[in-house]
């Protein structure tokens, strides 16, 4: 953890911070090796179009991973994100096809609001209902999905029913950067900054390290937990808008199974499932790595069917690496204590 706002970091913390930095460095290295290897095999992998496609494919996953990372850092989990994406995507797509005149910003705000409400429900149930996050979000995963199905039935919103400015949003650029990518960068960057430099972020880490100790230290655990779930819901809601704009066709099954991809990105990105460590931008890198792997496989002409097996191995590798780092930190701290 890099702790710049909490005064001078203790030596142990600085050491841990160094190791965690290498954790994200590991993902960057893996990315560089993968891209270099693929590019040597086929230089077109580094063409503008290919990079653009990769970034566009990452954007939706990265936005959801940023919200999920915050929840996981507080030692919770949000499995409802795939269903929240579907509710938001269907709401926004229906709204835009009924009122084609609405500007894009309204779509984005509505999507985020829908997601935030879903997140609020999760947060309240977890905190005030004292129901474990895994149970709540597994339940709301089914409930939200069921709601979309009973609302949409077998219908879908097709691209030709959506206004042109909504669909072109996915491909429009500003300064050569697609809007989708820019939004993902802003979300990942903004949430990273919040978690790293602001009081609420540091409190999230404290809650994840030890919920009881955080409560005793006077941290408003209830408020922070609910904020974490609202963030994750809002991110999934935003992802729903991006999903609708990018794919144009939205039905009730949108985003089915995304929750596991998002958790995978977060875990590969170095956020420990038991909370208290990891970074949001690491989770963003995790999302990028997972996306690049699948496109690299296509370019390298490796059977696409290997993709999921590789992702699985990568997740296991990532948690083994985290375990190794944690054991090393614990050992070095113990050694230090022994000398005092």
């Amino acid at each position: 953890m890099t702790t710049s706002t909490l005064g001078a970091p203790a030596p142990g913390r600085r050491f841990a911070g160094g190791l965690l930095k290498t954790r994200e460095l590991g993902i960057v290295l893996a990315l560089v090796v993968l891209i270099a290897y693929t590019a040597i095999d086929n230089p077109r992998f580094l063409s503008g179009q290919s990079i653009r496609d990769n970034l566009l494919n990452t954007a939706i996953l990265a936005v959801m991973a940023a919200g999920q990372a915050v929840v996981v850092i507080t030692r919770n989990i949000d499995l409802s994100v795939g269903s929240v994406l579907a509710i938001s995507a269907f709401t926004v797509a229906t709204m835009m096809s009924d009122n084609p005149g609405l500007p894009m910003i309204v779509a984005i705000v509505v999507g985020i609001a829908v997601g935030a409400v879903a997140g609020l429900v999760n947060g309240v149930l977890v905190r005030y209902g004292k129901v474990p996050a895994l149970v709540v979000t597994l339940g709301t995963m089914y409930i939200f999905r069921g709601l979309v199905y009973s609302w949409a039935g077998g219908q879908q919103v097709n691209a030709d029913e959506l206004p042109a400015h909504f669909l072109s949003f996915a491909n429009d650029n500003i300064l050569g950067i697609p809007w989708l990518v820019l939004i993902a960068l802003v979300v990942v960057g903004g949430v990273s900054l919040m978690m790293r430099n602001y009081r609420i972020g540091r409190e999230m880490y404290a809650i994840g390290s030890s919920p009881d100790a955080a409560e005793l230290a006077g941290i408003k655990v209830a408020r922070n937990l609910i904020v974490a779930f609202i963030l994750s819901g809002a991110a999934a809601g935003l992802a729903g808008v991006l999903f609708a704009a990018r794919f144009g066709t939205v039905d009730a099954s949108a985003g089915t199974g995304y929750e596991l991809n998002v958790v995978a990105a977060v875990v590969v990105g170095g956020v420990a499932v038991f909370g208290g460590s990891g970074t949001v931008w690491g989770a963003g890198l995790g999302a990028l790595l997972l996306t690049v792997i699948s496109s690299a496989l296509a370019v390298l002409d490796i059977n696409q069917f290997w993709q999921q097996a590789i992702v699985g191995s990568l997740i296991i590798l990532a948690i083994c690496a985290d375990r190794l780092v944690a054991v090393r930190i614990a050992r070095s701290l113990r050694k230090r204590d022994a000398h005092v």
Binding site: L138, T140, G146, G257, Q307, Q308, A309, I316, I319
Partner: protein
Amino acid sequence: MSEVKKRLTSWDSIIILLTIVVLIIASATVDNFGTSRNFTFMVLDLLPIILIALPMTMIIVTGEIDLSVASTLGFTSALMGWFWNNGLSIEMIIPLCIVIGAICGVLNGFLITVLGLPSLAVTIGTLALFRGLAFVVLGDGAVADFPFSYTDWVTGTLGSSPVPNVLILIVILALIFGIVQHATPVGRALYAIGANDKAAHFSGIRVARTKFWLYVVSGAVAGLVGVLWTLRYSSARADNGSGLELAVVAAVLLGGVSIFGGKGSLPGVLAGVVLLAALQNALRLEDVSGQALNIVTGALLVLSVLLPNIATAVRGNWHRRRLRQAAANAQ
């Protein structure tokens, strides 16, 4: 509160009662629900969830989780098709698939108990890994020409009675798991581990070894279900059973098992599975979309934990108020 009253108001008793009520109401009001044919279908529908739920209950009671079961199922199903295409006899394939399922469990058990990694993260990883291997083995193709004698046994009934053959398998396995969990030292050890694994360790329970074997058993059962699934639909596909892991976890939690471990009973879980299957079946007969039923599943899942918590809070309030009154009276 007396022991009897406590037992009657515990969640697993409530869920068993609720299941019976739903079964009675559905038989009385839904056309065709009580027919023997529908009974056969219902048993076949709940077969995969109920079998995988048996070891899953034990795993969750120890405070761990196994999310890779549905992928193990898909993997053994894909392997079954691949072996069959390569000319192995079905008598060879079935035990082989169960053993391979167990080996998947060995990998989980190794990562979780030997390396000490969190089971949630590990089994999300192996969920992707095993499903991926299933696709590597069989691609997106399907193998369908399994011998009729086996596919007929899985979908068939005992003689001319409405009792499906697989119900015998369910009853035998449920009895074995029930006895182990509720009437042996191993079963008691599971609850001790779930309540406090350090204390269990210091009282001489082999925590790591117990958990390791639970994952092996879970993998083996998932392998068996992969075989049964393949034979039931007479179709070996890599995506068989996708998403089933969350349905199983939902059924186990609905049956009153605490996600934190140490609490829950197998009868409650069995009732939970039957309740979900009966609701799904009845609503389908009433032409309610199966997907809308998700709302009921999810709501029951949340309520199964929320309601006992609210009850405890209310009881605590009531107790405190009585203490205050007693104190006021004494003055």
